[in-house]
Amino acid sequence: MASITLTVNGSARTIDVRDPDKPLLYALRNDLNLKGAKYGCGLGQCGACTVIVDGEAVRSCTTPVSAFSGKKITTIEGLGSPEQPHKVQAAFIAEQAAQCGYCTNGMVMTSAALLDKNPKPSATQVKDALAQNLCRCGTHERIVNAVVKAGGARG
């Protein structure tokens, strides 16, 4: 069995991988007990599994874990905590921007990656950045408001 070393939330973590095609999502959730990233479709269509890899929002459900050796992975747990939330997380809390919240991981991670590139996005830019992230409960307006406020631009 091969082992792979991943850099997750700033720490080197080595895991045994029997199948190199195993998606990163399963390694994060089951091998590293980081369950913030969610299984939504396994098809890269909904965004619930999003993590940030070398600054880019990436779908962890479709990319094999073997492709992540040597890359820096940030999960939602590494972004912030209830006590010390990232500004996007703080804005989601302030705006009460979740219903069931199953999509929230993807929304937060995609938005955090957006703000790194475009620190003050407009509402339209946020909507475009989140166009491939699905929310079924209809929390979209709050999510957009939260990300715009986190960036500090006027909505």
Binding site: G36, K38, C100, G101, A131, R136, C137, H140, R142
Partner: protein, 731 residues
């Protein structure tokens, strides 16, 4: 984070007199005794603890709807206890009262009001006990901040000193006086939802994140043709997967493995042969199929005057047929559950909206006595009636029973879109007539929909059928026939339902069952009548709407939206429409105005929505607002995009590409005005605002194009072809 530790610490920190440890591994170690779950008893709903805190127990659960904030608000208010002293336990069948399923927007109106009466009964008892202790009449005392004190000031006595560890041992008094809304400290105020910090930081423990020691990962394997029988299984096809085991019970087929990814691989590798099965129609033929179905019975739901005579005599007649397609819950996370079945008892963790009724179902299915089954609620991905949560739980239970270990079953996206029980199709026809001077004189609504099975205890699940286990057969749909009655004064009215005896795909309640389609038919027709009468749609509605709360909702939405009067449609690609409902005929009032842009290729973009919403007394204003937002946005998506596609074998729309839902670029500007009526009973907010959405949208499209869309979804292809037929051009 370790989910076990955090939950255990949470429960310990409550200092509960009745210790609650909701984990199978610890279940036998802790003897839970004395905690009544009898919904007629105060102690079923709440326990006051020696440390000044309280635990409230709710059979109704928070589905992302904000009840987790609202229930403590209600209890804190009535008890006279700071809200941060209150902990909530939801949906655990061993600890919470059976208050019925969390459905039909009844979390607050039913569950919340039972809790309010339990707390009011408790307060009355505390004041009586304190009166004896303090030697003062009850009228001079009140419960404030965890004490009973003289209203005029002076020393009080703590709640803890007044109750023993036996609790209140009192029947819930439905007449116990509740606090005057003028004095409310929590009800009607903003209380942040307690689950959002953990949800926004990835710490919230969903059903999908929950595990128990020794748990195996299970996957179910289902045939490519719905209803097919399992002929043979080649177990050797998964021999290369470490620890994989095949579970076969008649036509039920599953595979388990210690590692989740291995279970995924094994499910793909397992070779099985199936035969038979199939569906009576495909989705393209569904409308005709429904119209040709034998009508089991016809029921007149509402009657006034004499429709037939008035219609026959009227000079101006209109008619139309509307179609609402089969739709999926399309939950963002495919269903998941954990079951531990061994030694003649079982524990199931499930995101069910009805843990109590499914506990009985699961027990029957496994051949266990009801008192050997415990079901815990854990948050799932949003479900809007009943998706695959209970199916996944039954799958897990059969596999756990077969292998003697706890099993977690995670459905795939394909499973969820393909197999979740669906909102069934509806065909609705309208006939109405105007007098020579443009007054509505006759109205007839006819609804064709499947008849729900009388007294069906639960919606039938897949695996008990496959495994030929005990289960009550039938169809459950929710009240599909509600909302066919126009909310207007009509002298000659007939509202009928033609009950059909089956429906091609397994049915269940999907948010606001039937009512969005019925409101589409009624409210589109009201617009057609307005046009025929030469009146503005808002003015025309107000002329027939006598209920003052309904009038206020319509008048305020017209103002909020800046409604401009019109009679004839603009036909310039931009349009405005309105829709109104009183949900279920006697509940929440909602009026919605909507603006759309229609492109030359038939694409509809909703640009602006205004809504007024009167659900009586508001408990959590932001919770209501959040539900109204969700109702509107989700239903715009259902109206524009959603239709389950299937061939004669199976559902073919089994991913997000083939079953599109609303996305961020589709989101309009929203303006919502909540009308709070503190002295009226609270009504539901989880569904009502869905009902007028499709109608307002259709009416706006008519204004923009002169075309009446009567078939959902309002796809670009459908509108483009209607535009080509009628020669509409703009832009």
């Amino acid at each position: 984070m370790n989910s076990h530790t955090s939950r255990r610490n949470f429960l310990k920190s409550t200092g509960a007199l009745f210790i609650a440890i909701p984990f199978a591994s610890e279940l036998k170690a802790e003897v839970i005794s004395g905690k009544t779950v009898d919904a007629a008893q105060v102690d079923a709903y709440l326990a006051l603890h020696a440390d000044g805190t309280a635990t409230i127990y709710s059979g109704k659960v928070d589905l992302g709807t904000g009840l987790r904030a609202a229930f403590p608000q209600i209890a804190a208010e009535e008890l006279g206890l700071p809200i941060n002293k209150i902990k909530l336990i939801e949906g655990d069948t061993l600890l919470t009262p059976d208050q019925g399923p969390t459905s039909g927007s009844n979390g607050i109106p039913k569950g919340g009001m039972q809790l309010r009466q339990a707390a009011a009964t408790a307060r009355q008892a505390l004041i009586k006990l304190a009166s004896e202790k303090l030697g003062r009449p009850v009228g001079e005392l009140d419960a404030i901040d965890g004490e009973v004190r003289p209203k005029a000031g002076g020393a009080g006595v703590s709640f803890a000193s007044l109750v023993t560890d036996k609790g209140f041992e009192l029947k819930l008094d439905s007449k116990a006086p509740v606090r005057d809304p003028k004095t409310h400290k929590y009800v009607g105020k903003h209380v942040p939802r307690p689950d959002i910090p953990a949800k926004a930081t990835g710490r919230h423990v969903y059903m999908h994140d929950f595990d128990v020691p020794g748990m195996m990962h299970g996957r179910t394997i289902r045939p490519a043709v719905i209803g097919a029988e399992l002929v043979s299984v080649d177990e050797s096809s998964v021999a290369s997967i470490p620890g994989a085991k095949v579970v076969r019970i008649k036509n039920f087929l599953g595979v388990v493995a210690p590692d989740e990814w291995d279970a995924v691989r094994a499910a793909k590798m397992l070779k099985a042969e199936w035969k038979g099965g199939g569906l009576p129609t495909d989705s393209a033929g569904l409308r005709d199929y429904v119209k040709a179905q034998k009508v089991g019975s016809t029921e007149a739901l509402d009657k006034a005057g004499d429709f037939a005579t008035a219609y026959a005599a009227a000079p101006k007649k209109l008619s139309g047929e509307f179609y609402w397609p089969t739709q999926s819950h399309a939950s963002l996370g495919p269903s998941c559950a954990v079951a531990d079945v061994k030694d003649g008892e079982a524990t199931i963790w499930c995101s069910s909206q009805g843990t109590h009724r499914y506990a009985k179902h699961f027990a029957d299915m496994l051949g266990l006595p009801a008192n050997k089954m415990r079901v815990h609620y854990l948050d799932g991905a949003g479900c809007y009636g009943m998706n695959g949560h209970e199916d996944a739980a039954a799958d897990a239970a059969f596999m756990s029973k077969a292998i003697g270990k706890p099993v977690r079953v995670q459905w795939t996206r394909e499973d969820e879109h393909g197999l979740d029980p669906k909102g069934p199709p509806q065909v609705i026809t309208q006939e109405a007539a105007l007098s020579a001077d443009g007054k509505i004189v006759a109205w007839h609504t006819t609804m064709r929909c499947p008849k729900p099975t009388d007294k069906l205890p639960t919606i039938p699940l897949l695996s008990p059928v496959e495994a030929d286990a005990k289960q009550v057969k039938g169809i459950a749909t929710g009240s599909l026939s509600s909302g066919g009655k126009p909310p207007y004064d009509v002298p000659n009215l007939l509202v009928e339902v033609l009950w059909l005896e089956d429906t091609p795909l397994r049915a269940s309640h999907l948010r606001a069952p039937g009512k969005i389609g019925n409101c589409l038919a009624v409210e589109t027709f009201m617009d057609e009548l307005a046009l025929a009468a030469g009146k503005d749609p808002v003015e025309f509605r107000l002329a027939y709407l006598s209920d003052p709360r309904g009038r206020e909702a319509v008048e305020r939405v017209a103002k909020l939206f800046n409604w401009d009067k019109r009679v004839e449609p603009r036909r310039n690609g931009k349009g405005r429409g309105i829709g109104f409902t009183q949900y279920k005929g006697d509940e929440t009032y909602v009026a919605i105005a909507m603006e759309v842009d229609v492109s030359a290729d038939g694409h509809i973009k909703v640009t602006r929505v205004a809504a007024t919403h009167d659900c009586g007394q508001i408990i959590s204003p932001d919770g209501v607002r959040s539900q109204v937002e969700g109702c509107i946005l989700q239903t715009i998506g259902r109206t524009l995009f959603e239709e389950v596609k299937f061939d004669r074998n199976h559902v073919t729309s089994r991913d997000w590409a083939s079953y599109p839902i609303l996305t961020f670029p589709d989101v309009p500007e929203l303006k919502i005005e909540l009308i709070d009526r503190p002295n009226e009973p609270p009504r539901g907010a989880g569904e009502a605002a869905t009902a007028p959405v499709a109608a307002a949208l259709a009416n706006a499209v008519f204004d923009a194009t002169g075309i009446r869309l009567r078939t959902v979804p309002f796809t670009a292809a459908r509108l483009k072809s209607a535009m080509a037929e009628t020669g509409v051009k703009f832009g």
